[in-house]
Amino acid sequence: MAASSMANVFTDMQSSFLEDHPCITDITYSYGSSATLAAQIVNGSPADVFISASEATMITVKNAGKTLSVDLFAKNAGEIMVSLTSKFVGRITDIGSLTDAVNPGIKIGLCVATAPCGSLSNTILKNAGSTRGLVADTESPSAEDLVTKIEMGELDAGIVFHSDCVSAQKRKSSKCISIPPNMNATTSYYVGALNTRDVSRQFVDLVSSPAFTTSLQSKYGFLAP
């Protein structure tokens, strides 16, 4: 089970991982908000590995005794993602321009506050002197859901993970507007095995390997752990 912001990474590396590990015939991923996944794991979901996009959600799983050791393997920051189909594309320049007061009729999405991307955007809004109620028109259950709605053009913009915006920019669907360092915040990505199976350990080893973390930074826009 993995944070939805890791979805494109694991989709890309699926075939190479299977080639390197001939004993593993298939990996099934379940993506979602780390908070939702953590609740599912605590309630007995039969997953092998949990990859969270925040420390808090991994602590939930650890405190429930579902995993013994966890590894920090990456970090992520926030960024404003603007749909290229949006009428407001030239008028969104910073956090302040996300409000209806500045751009009447603008539709903004944020992740729900419990999801790591949502708590990240809350911190950023607080640093910028704004609030969720002032900005958001809808709350997405997960980072992936928010990115899709912006890419579809149903939302004009939103605060997403830097890595998700980098990928969306590569797909030429959106543009990214960086948030000044004094307002931005980061969240930490952890990986933990939920059982003692060999495959679980192998997968955790891979995710926490230097090669993987380096490629996360160079190819996907994650930050060093």
């Binding site: 939702t36 189909t85 539709k107 729900v112 419990t114 709350e139 149903e154």
Partner: protein
């Protein structure tokens, strides 16, 4: 004598079926934090979700009635070809997974949608993620229930009365309003109640098309879903509210569905 009509083996199976349905519902009653019930129900987020749910579902039920009754009349009385296809299309949302309905609504009325793009480009109307979108999703899934109930009633109606009125010079619309409608009033009321209950419980289509934002588009079922992983006790309380409303609808309609009991 009467008890011999049902064999013991069937009784056991029937009992298991009944328990399977009743037990989960009763479990909510057992686990609801009764002592904190007042506090939880008076929380701002709970009140907001309840109000949005009541408001949107009542509007959806009224719209379903205003548009659904004429549709039911058309389906029951028109002799045009292709009507059976129209009927199937109109009641498809009843069996469609609601989330598919949400995607369909987004594809039609979203900003990039087939109709929605013109609404947005020409009139600057953006429907997704608004309370209007919540109502639209509810009408989409709930109206077919009303249409089906009312159409069946129209069909059972004695056509003789309508024909007599027509031969005496009444216009088709006069026949519709003064003869057909009064005759099916119980079915219309049942249809409204059914559509209302369905609207109130609507989740999949609305969360896809209207999103979920507390105080704006978040209805009770959306709040319940979100709370399961955050505040389980509060989600139980909201579930209890929805159970009460559903049971209330059934009780109000018992004459219709439990005839003879």
């Amino acid at each position: 004598m009467k008890s011999q009509r049902v064999s013991p083996a069937l009784k056991v199976i029937a009992f298991i079926a009944a328990i399977f349905v009743a037990l989960p519902l009763l479990s909510i009653f057992v686990r609801v934090p009764w002592s904190d019930l007042g506090d939880m129900l008076s929380q701002k987020s709970t009140r907001e979700a309840l109000l949005i749910s009541l408001q949107t579902s009542i509007i959806a039920a009224v719209i379903s009635c205003l548009f659904g009754v004429p549709l039911a009349w058309l389906l029951a009385r028109s002799e045009s070809r292709g009507l059976s296809v129209l009927r199937i299309v109109c009641i498809t949302p009843m069996v469609l997974p609601p989330v598919v309905g949400g995607i369909a609504l987004l594809t039609a009325f979203g900003r990039q949608g087939i109709i929605g793009q013109y609404l947005y480009d020409w009139f600057n109307i953006s429907l997704p993620f608004t309370r209007t979108a919540v109502v639209m999703a509810q009408v989409f899934v709930a109206m077919p229930f009303l249409v089906l109930a009312v159409e069946a009633a129209f069909r059972q109606n004695d056509k003789g009365l309508e024909e007599a009125a027509r031969t005496m010079g009444a216009s088709p619309s006069r026949v519709f309003f003064t003869i057909a409608i009064p005759a099916v009033r119980p079915a219309i009321i049942a249809g409204i109640a059914l559509a209302w209950a369905r609207s109130l419980g609507e989740f999949g289509a609305s969360i896809t098309f209207a999103g979920s934002f507390p105080g704006r588009t978040q209805t009770l079922p959306m709040a319940v879903y979100e709370l399961v992983s955050i505040d389980y006790r509060l989600s139980l309380v909201l579930s209890l509210v929805l159970i009460f409303i559903s049971v209330g609808v059934l009780a109000a309609m018992r004459d219709r569905w439990m005839a003879g009991r």
